[in-house]
């Protein structure tokens, strides 16, 4: 099995789906000739031509709106937001139209749209290039939000998103693009949206997280294993709707739960995870549910020291995991 990077898994999934289904096409800023600012769509313009790899104006509401229209008409568009931070002008289109069209039309219409967007910090991108925006959308039934952590999950979940008959937001951690590599099968496969995945089995503490933080947690777990602390790590993979069953099982397994997100703490995805655990696992809990997240400040700071202060990193996770294990 070939070892490829996270971003190459994105490209591979899109290319294979475009080859498989002529209804699949890509649109976004600089996705064509340039191949995307991160090169996620590199080579697609050459292979599939300008009608299936469309460069758009700098108007995110239009990218989403065109995608929604095409999807309702029977196409399978993959719309790219150049940075997740730029999705805000498209929020009305996504929440008011894409998420609701099936419900509003009593199943007459649906919207098989994928919106891809790179999110997350740690790349000195500051305010407009570092945000996590999942919590904005994670309150809207009708949407699905997928945030994979490994190249294997990227390929399987992106393909599942493209084949899904309803809108899916697919957030890719931009720092993971070239940092994270992993084995990806050359053959076609999909992974179920809405299912979390145990990335490490353990007995003493449970860490539930998603995206790049999964790797930080795995690194911390490796260190703690040297001190005899055994960590169970659950990767949510889909952050909306949440895999309640897997969350309950993972939390009950050890009774000590650490939830991690790099998003601002209050109102984040992990708050909902904590609520699920609180509702279902009272008599299995051996410690208060612990959250590790970014501080509640308006945006990612630019100064490297301040960015480091904001970001979740392996040392922070290790410290939190150790405290929980010792509780």
């Amino acid at each position: 099995m070939a070892v490829i990077s996270y971003i190459d898994a994105v490209t591979m999934a899109i290319r294979e789906e475009m080859e498989r289904d002529p209804k699949v096409f890509v649109l976004g800023e600089d996705v064509g000739k340039k191949g995307g600012v991160f090169k996620a769509t590199q080579g697609l313009y050459e292979q599939f031509g300008e009608e299936r790899v469309i460069d758009t104006p700098l108007a995110e509401s239009a990218i989403a709106g065109v995608g929604i229209g095409a999807a309702m008409y029977g196409m399978r568009p993959i719309a790219e937001m150049q940075f997740a931070d730029f999705i805000m002008p498209a929020v009305n289109q996504i929440i008011s139209e894409a998420a609701k069209i099936r419900y509003r039309s009593n199943n007459d219409w649906n919207c098989p749209l994928v919106i891809r967007a790179p999110y997350g910090g740690g790349v000195h991108g500051a305010l407009y290039h570092s945000q996590s925006v999942e919590a904005v959308f994670a309150h809207q039934p009708g949407l699905k939000i997928v945030m994979p952590s490994t190249p294997y999950d990227v390929k399987g979940l992106l393909k599942a998103a493209i084949r899904d008959n309803d809108p899916v937001l697919f957030f890719e951690h931009k720092r993971a693009y070239r940092l994270i590599k992993g084995e990806v099968p050359a053959e076609d496969y999909t992974l179920p949206i809405g299912k979390a995945d145990v990335k490490r089995e353990g007995e003493d503490i449970t860490v539930i997280t998603y995206g790049l933080c999964v790797h930080f947690a795995l690194q911390a777990a490796e260190k703690l294993a040297g001190d005899g602390i055994s960590s169970h790590i659950l990767d949510l993979r889909t952050v909306y709707p949440l895999d309640k069953e897997a969350i309950i099982e993972a939390a009950a397994k050890t009774g000590k739960v650490l939830l991690v997100t790099e998003d601002n703490k209050e109102g984040s995805i992990i708050g909902e995870v904590a609520a699920i655990i609180a509702e279902h696992c009272l008599f299995d809990l051996d410690a208060p549910i612990k959250r590790l997240a970014g501080p509640d400040v308006p945006a990612m700071p630019y100064a490297p020291t301040m960015e480091k202060f904001f970001m979740v990193h392996p040392e922070k996770i290790e410290k939190a995991m150790r405290e929980l294990a010792e509780f």
């Binding site: 009774g255 009272l282 008599f283 809990l285």
Partner: protein, 427 residues
């Protein structure tokens, strides 16, 4: 009356912590000021911690073996006659204000967590009948963690459920908890002499005690015994046992034949397969035979389910497997559930007569005693050496009367006496 706290004293200049090696008092003891409360071991000295107050020991917060930082609370004392103590204390301690100050900061900074139980710990301790004051905590501030309880459970060898207790304890938790006390009280009054060893009653022992007390108190036991001539059975079994062992890989015990005979008898006398349920008697359909399996220090009662439907070989295999599970501590709760009648192999300890305590809430227990050679008068005319075995039965006289039990025993006797090569198959 006031609650005062005793803290780990500073026992040397560079000493930061001490280990409680021995408590010299227990909760409820009356102590005078300066009386020794505990022996403490540090890396420099071994010392006694004296009481700073007169009063009654309210709570031992630290357990024996716990290492406690200097200034942390080890126990609390309920003082009497508040004025006297407060009048004395300043004189001796000289700085009450400073002391109070430290007390506050200590309780805020390192609040002892030993007696603060998480839901997971409480749930586990209830399920397994664990007295949490006996468990030492490894968590922050001495907190008992879920892991501590799990380790305690596996250390106590108490695998998921209590032994003979099994059904009764889980069904009637409240009552058996109350019944624990009468079992424990007499032990508390035994004076300890030098060299005596105190063995804490926990886990399995506690469950056995509670269950036996309950059965003996509640159930009016009556006893009966029949003599059975097992000569034919002995001959038959001895003739095939070596071949069987070689072929099947486990022993063909006499016990399997007896269990089979009892199961058959129960089928014919279903009254025997009953339980007392307060205002009614429940006659059980399934014939599930509980068998007693002893380890060095405990007794388990695993169940052979639907014994009437099994061959002698099948029963022998199950006895062998259950015994192995008991010895390896692998017995699960479900292995001990659902018994409707108990057969006890007392003969294996050489007993020839015994009076069993009924395995609550079953209606009877049958003890299979040793098979011994004895002279027996045969057909009124001659004396022969026969292999004789006594079957002793205890019955719940609320459920059963002598007549049906006598008929049942007579039938079991008849079945066993007719067990020979030509009449039965072990397969």
């Amino acid at each position: 009356m006031a609650i005062e706290q005793i803290k780990m004293p500073q026992l040397g200049e560079s000493v930061t912590e001490g280990t409680i090696s021995n408590w010299l008092v227990k909760v409820g003891d009356r102590v005078n000021k300066y009386d020794p409360l505990a022996e403490v071991m540090t890396d420099k000295v071994n010392a006694e911690v004296p009481s700073s107050y007169s009063g009654v020991i309210k709570e031992l917060i630290a357990a024996e073996g716990d290492t406690i930082a200097v200034g942390e609370i080890i126990c609390s004392i309920e003082t009497e006659g508040g004025e006297v103590v407060t009048a004395e204390a300043p004189a001796v301690e000289s700085k009450p204000e400073a002391l109070e100050g430290t007390a506050d900061s200590v309780s805020a900074a390192v609040r002892p967590n030993k007696a603060r139980y998480s839901p997971a710990v409480l749930k586990l301790s209830q399920e397994h009948g664990i007295d949490l004051t006996r468990v030492s905590g490894t968590g922050a501030g001495g907190r008992i963690t879920r892991k501590d309880v799990l380790q305690w459970i596996s250390a106590a060898g108490e695998k998921a459920a209590a032994p003979a207790a099994g059904q009764a304890v889980s069904q009637e938790k409240g009552q058996s908890a109350v019944l624990n006390q009468p079992a424990a009280v007499p032990a508390a009054n035994v004076p300890l002499a030098a060299g005596d060893i105190e063995i804490p009653v926990t886990g399995i022992r506690k469950a056995i005690a509670a269950n036996m007390v309950r059965s003996k108190h509640e159930v009016p036991h009556a006893w009966m015994m029949v003599e059975v001539d097992a000569t034919n059975l002995v001959e038959y079994r001895n003739s095939i046992k070596d071949e069987f062992k070689e072929k099947e890989g486990f022993n063909l015990t006499f016990f399997a034949f007896f269990v089979k005979a009892v199961a058959q008898g129960l089928k014919e006398f279903p009254q025997m397969n009953s339980m007392w349920a307060g205002d009614k008697i429940i006659r059980k359909k399934d014939i599930n035979i509980s068998i007693a399996v002893a380890t060095d220090d405990a007794l388990f009662v695993p169940v052979i389910k639907n014994a009437d439907e099994k061959t002698i070989k099948g029963i022998a295999r199950e006895i062998s497997e259950l015994a192995v599970k008991v010895r390896n501590g692998k017995l699960k709760a479900e292995d001990m559930q659902g018994g409707t009648f108990t057969v006890n192999n007392t003969g294996s300890f050489g007993s020839v007569q015994s009076m069993g305590i009924i395995n609550y809430p079953q209606a009877a227990i049958l003890q299979v005693e040793s098979i011994v050679k004895r002279p027996v008068v045969m057909n009124d005319s001659m004396i022969a050496v026969r292999d004789m075995v006594n079957l002793c039965m205890s019955l719940d006289h609320r459920v059963l009367d002598g007549l049906v039990c006598g008929r049942f025993l007579a039938r079991v006797k008849e079945i066993i006496e007719n067990m020979s090569k030509s009449t039965i198959s072990i397969y």
